[in-house]
């Protein structure tokens, strides 16, 4: 393990050398106190001994998270004292690995390996870092080395094949697995799941390499030697279809449907195998037959509803819905709701057939349940088409009929929510909850509704009925531990709505933290899966991890936080412009702030009391309980970019990546990085996205207000803007903006908000007037309660008292239940 010629400063007396071995042993057994003691003994006689210093650093950083910095300093010191010690670099690697800093860990392992090239443990650990950091070239090299040294382990073959596969070298990956098969003296038994997985993995490599024919041949060859029957069927069906062997493909898809008649994709592929995707008549026959073959399956029925039209549709949908009503299936409405969007005629047909059935039942029915679910359906239907009065009438009728059914109250609450009465919605959801306190689903709904209504305290009380609670009986910490994304997001929004930006930021960042955990979670599986053999699932996981921050859960949180950071920046800037007085606005009234300060003081004294316990339990003290530090960030734009960047780089699709450019553009335009902003705009323009005009106006406005802009940049920007939109510089920004957002643009809420957002940046005397004028469109538009209330907030900010009254008057004609709009 150690180099033969030990430098003088590293050499230890035999006594100390003995102690050093003890030290290593204690560290490995996690007996940190003993390790520390013995390290100090060595250091007493050899205070500058580098390896001991480093190991002591690792020990104390493992003992207590608070000593991490101190520990790292010792390791660094050790390194200075003994530059070429393999042990110190290895210690340093472990330190970084423990801190989940895989980049630094990889560098340190590489350095350790230079000093001790034959150390296979280090090669293996290095390969894990390379996998975590997706350094595929290095990964192939490390794993080749491991395989050469230890060809007797199956996992070393698998690991190398994975590395080659991930690097895109399919032939090499396949070859590695071939060599493994040849190296086996005799084939492994079928019961060997690991072997079965390996053969299937090889098949996947062949398919991924693009040679479908050979993949099919190989699949036929291994079919009776592997255990994953379903995967073999699915792969064979897919290969046959791709190779145009349609008759055979049909047969396999029919087997798959028989195995699982609820997977819609099998049916769609069967259509392709039969070449009837575009023939609705033949499709109607096929789905009729399949519905008969699988009478308990939803899939063949619901798929047929998508392409059937007119009377044929009416007949099938009527039977479909009636079977739900008779059985008392609560999801009848949501099962057909998707059909409305594509085809408004279908909505009308559905309403008609259900009303007819309702009339029949009212005349004569021996089933109270059926009648009840029909009324329930009609309530949901009317709520969906925003006929809230009718919806309430139906749902109240249903509640009068069966006042014990929780679902009815849940729907009533939803109607109030959609109509804009959030407080009433929450109250009704609480009624629903009271009927079934044991059901967490209703509890969750109640919490969401309470948060939407701004009642954060009650929401926390209610959610804590199902969590592990702290000393004060609150479960918020547990919901962080349990990665409760929905709660963190809803609570962040609730804080944001209440103007408490600090707490909102805190929760958004908590979601970011959860995603960091998700990212770190993969680490252990790099080793585990090569041993367990579950390579196909492992690769699925790796690809998922690569797109982690493109997921909507992260995106929503990042957007929420970025918008706050942008507003902080704008406020700060406007504050300076208005005489340099700027303070962080957390949206609190003086009383509220006083209350918070009092609370903070109380917490502080409690904290002191807890400190000893926390030292023991290594609990991390929350150093920013109200998010004030986040609000005081010196570089809000940098913070914003840090959060948003991964949304772009890890986007799930190219379209997603382009759309994510909007928020990036907002950040860049404020940072004065106009050309980067233009890049994002150009891509969006090529994709035909709506927000192009909004951002063009902003980039122009920000750059024109920017006195420090470099002349060359200005020239390039002007050229690139004119290239994109010929009249980009005709008239002032405001004139240009107003020209591009004509009255006919505002047919949905989105362009209204886009305009308002851009107009705010552009200045000019008519600013407030313009914003108010356009916001008034929302009062009459086809939009949601949320949007119409957002419009009210804009009018409140930019208009006068008469504007607000007028807006309310106009909007409340349609939104009579929305409390915010009531005068």
């Amino acid at each position: 393990m150690f180099n033969t010629s030990i430098p003088k400063n590293r050499h230890l007396s035999s006594k100390d050398a003995e102690n050093f071995r003890e030290l290593l042993k204690f560290y490995e057994n996690k007996e940190y106190k003993k390790a520390l003691k013995i390290a100090n003994v060595i250091l007493k006689s050899r205070p500058t001994h580098g390896e001991t210093l480093a190991l002591k650093g690792l020990v104390i950083s493992s003992m207590d998270k608070k000593q991490v910095d101190e520990g790292y300093a010792l390791i660094k010191q050790g390194m200075v004292n003994d530059e070429f010690s393999y042990v110190i670099w290895h210690v340093c690697s472990i330190f970084h690995r423990n801190a989940k800093n895989y980049e630094e860990a990889e560098k340190s392992y590489a350095k350790a390996l230079q000093l001790d090239p034959e150390n296979m443990n280090v090669v293996r650990d290095l390969s894990l870092m390379q996998m975590q950091n997706r350094r595929f070239d290095g990964l192939v090299a490390s794993r080749s080395k491991l395989l050469t040294k230890q060809p007797g382990f199956r996992q070393n073959w698998t690991a190398l094949a994975i590395a080659q596969h991930l690097r895109g070298d399919f032939a090499a990956a396949e070859n590695t697995l071939n060599m493994f098969e040849e190296a086996l003296k005799e084939p492994l038994p079928k019961e060997d799941n690991e072997n079965s997985e390996l053969m299937l993995y090889k098949n996947q490599i062949i398919y991924d390499s693009g040679d479908v024919q050979r993949a099919l041949e190989h699949l036929d060859f291994i079919a009776d030697k592997v255990l994953d029957t379903l995967w073999v069927y699915e792969a064979r069906a897919k290969y046959l279809l791709e190779l145009g062997k349609l008759k055979d493909a049909e047969k396999v898809y029919r087997i798959l449907i028989k195995r699982n008649p609820e997977f819609c994709d099998y049916y769609y592929q069967l259509e392709r195998a039969l070449q009837i995707e575009d023939n609705n008549n033949l499709k109607a026959i096929m789905y009729r037959r399949l519905s008969k073959m699988y009478p308990k399956s939803d899939a063949p029925r619901s798929i047929a509803l998508k392409f059937l039209t007119g009377d044929a549709f009416a007949k099938v949908v009527s039977e479909y819905l009636k079977s739900f009503f008779v059985r008392g299936v609560p999801s009848a409405f949501v099962n057909v709701k998707g059909l409305f969007k594509a085809d408004s005629e279908k909505a009308a047909i559905i309403e008609r057939v259900v009303l007819e059935y309702y009339a029949e039942l009212k005349k004569e029915s021996d089933s109270p349940i059926t009648l009840l679910w029909v009324i329930y359906f009609l309530a949901q239907f009317n709520s969906h088409v925003q006929k809230f009065d009718a919806a309430l009438e139906y749902i109240n009728k249903a509640i009068e009929h069966t006042p014990t059914l929780v679902e009815l109250y849940m729907t009533k609450a939803r109607i109030y929510k959609r109509a804009g009465d959030y407080a009433q919605a929450a109250a009704v959801m609480q009624e629903a909850r009271a009927l079934d306190l044991q059901d967490r689903f209703v509890n969750t709904k109640a919490v969401k509704y309470l948060l939407r209504a701004g009642d954060i305290d009650t929401a926390v009380e209610v959610v804590s009925l199902f969590t592990k609670n702290d000393n004060e009986g609150k479960g918020v910490a547990d919901l962080h531990d349990m990665q409760g994304l929905w709660f963190l997001k809803e609570q962040a929004d609730a804080y944001n709505n209440a103007g408490n930006k600090g707490m909102a930021l805190k929760r958004f960042h908590a979601i970011e933290e959860v995603f960091k955990e998700f990212h770190d979670d993969q680490f252990d599986f790099h080793f585990y899966c090569t041993r367990k053999g579950t390579i196909r699932a492992y690769l699925d996981m790796v690809h998922w991890e690569d797109k982690l921050h493109g997921l909507k859960h992260y995106k929503r949180a990042a957007r929420g936080a970025v918008e706050i950071y942008l507003s902080l920046y704008d406020q700060e800037k406007n504050g300076q412009a208005n005489g340099g007085v700027s303070s962080v606005d957390d949206g609190l009234t003086p009383e509220e702030r006083k209350k918070l300060v009092r609370k903070a003081k109380k917490e502080k004294s409690k904290e002191l009391k807890k400190e000893m316990e926390q030292l023991e339990s290594k609990e991390i003290v929350d150093e920013d309980p109200f998010g004030h530090k986040l609000l005081a960030a010196k570089d809000p734009l940098e913070q914003a970019l840090k959060l948003w960047k991964p949304v772009q780089t890890e986007a799930l699709s190219a379209a997603d990546a382009v759309d994510a450019g909007k928020l990036a553009c907002e950040i860049f335009a404020r940072q004065g990085k106009y050309l980067l902003a233009m890049q994002a705009i150009n891509k969006a323009s090529a994709a035909g996205l709506d927000w192009v005009y909004e951002e063009v106006a902003k980039v122009r406005a920000f750059s024109e207000a920017d006195e420090a802009i470099a002349p060359t940049i200005k020239i390039v920007l002007t050229r690139s803007l004119t290239n994109l939109i010929a009249d980009a510089f005709e008239g002032t920004v405001v004139e240009w903006l107003n020209r591009h957002f004509g009255d006919d643009t505002f047919d949905t809420a989105e362009p209204v908000f886009n305009y308002v957002s851009a107009r705010q940046v552009c200045g000019g005397e008519e600013k407030a007037r313009d914003i108010v004028k356009v916001s008034f469109k929302l009062a009459r538009l086809n939009c949601t309660a949320n949007e119409v209330i957002r419009g009210l907030r804009i009018v409140e900010q930019w208009g006068c008292a008469e504007d607000v009254a007028e807006y309310k008057k106009l909007a409340s004609e349609k939104w009579s239940l929305a409390t915010a709009l009531q005068v």
Partner: protein, 192 residues
């Protein structure tokens, strides 16, 4: 409505479904552990969303119990015969849940049937075990009457809140998944 094998991208939705519905919750790594150890055993029920994606409204997460020391249902103390039985590979349903608004469509049963078949096909499981809250009448009915599980014993205070659990078990019988009857799916003639 869709029922299919769970993929990594479904795990967050499963975790959310679990956290919204049940009192026993897990961090994502626990879901990853299942997905990467027995990828064939977990299934999800999904519905389409407005933005063209899928929303998970039900799931079953299952595992194989391959460690003899960790037999899911410990035999009774005084049942000597059972104690000496050799270890047989068997599956265990870790967690199953369907959102309240999607009940009465038989989703839980459909999910579990798929998972149980995979246990026998891929891992040679001879039986499957699970735990259910004593008060959960609907679930008990599903397992016992629809899926033919048997109650093996009551495990006292199995749940964190002190409730007892029934330990249940279903022995697999070989089922032959042949092809369908091969009729011409596009023939109009012998339809009624």
């Amino acid at each position: 409505m869709n029922i299919r094998q769970a993929r990594t991208e479904d795990l967050l939705g499963m975790q959310n479904c679990n956290l919204s519905n049940l009192p026993e919750n897990y961090v994502l790594k626990f879901y990853l552990y299942h997905a990467l150890s027995w990828p064939q055993l977990s299934y999800v029920a999904t519905v389409p969303t407005d933005d063209g994606g899928e929303k998970i409204v039900g799931y079953v997460m299952a595992k194989m119990e391959d460690d003899p020391a960790n037999n899911a249902i410990q035999p009774d103390e005084n049942d000597e015969a059972a104690k000496n039985e050799p270890f047989v590979p068997h599956g265990h349903i870790t967690s199953v849940s369907v959102m309240r608004t999607y009940r009465r469509m038989g989703l839980a049963a459909k999910l579990m049937r798929q998972s149980m078949r995979a246990m026998t096909e891929c891992f040679g499981a001879k039986y499957v075990s699970l735990h259910v809250r004593e008060s959960n009448k609907a679930a008990l009915h599903l397992y016992r009457d629809s899926l033919k599980y048997e109650v093996m014993k009551v495990e006292k205070k199995y749940y964190m809140d002190g409730e007892d659990a029934y330990a249940m078990k279903k022995v697999f019988v070989h089922e032959d998944m042949a092809e369908d009857d091969g009729q011409d799916l596009l023939a109009e003639s012998d339809e009624e």
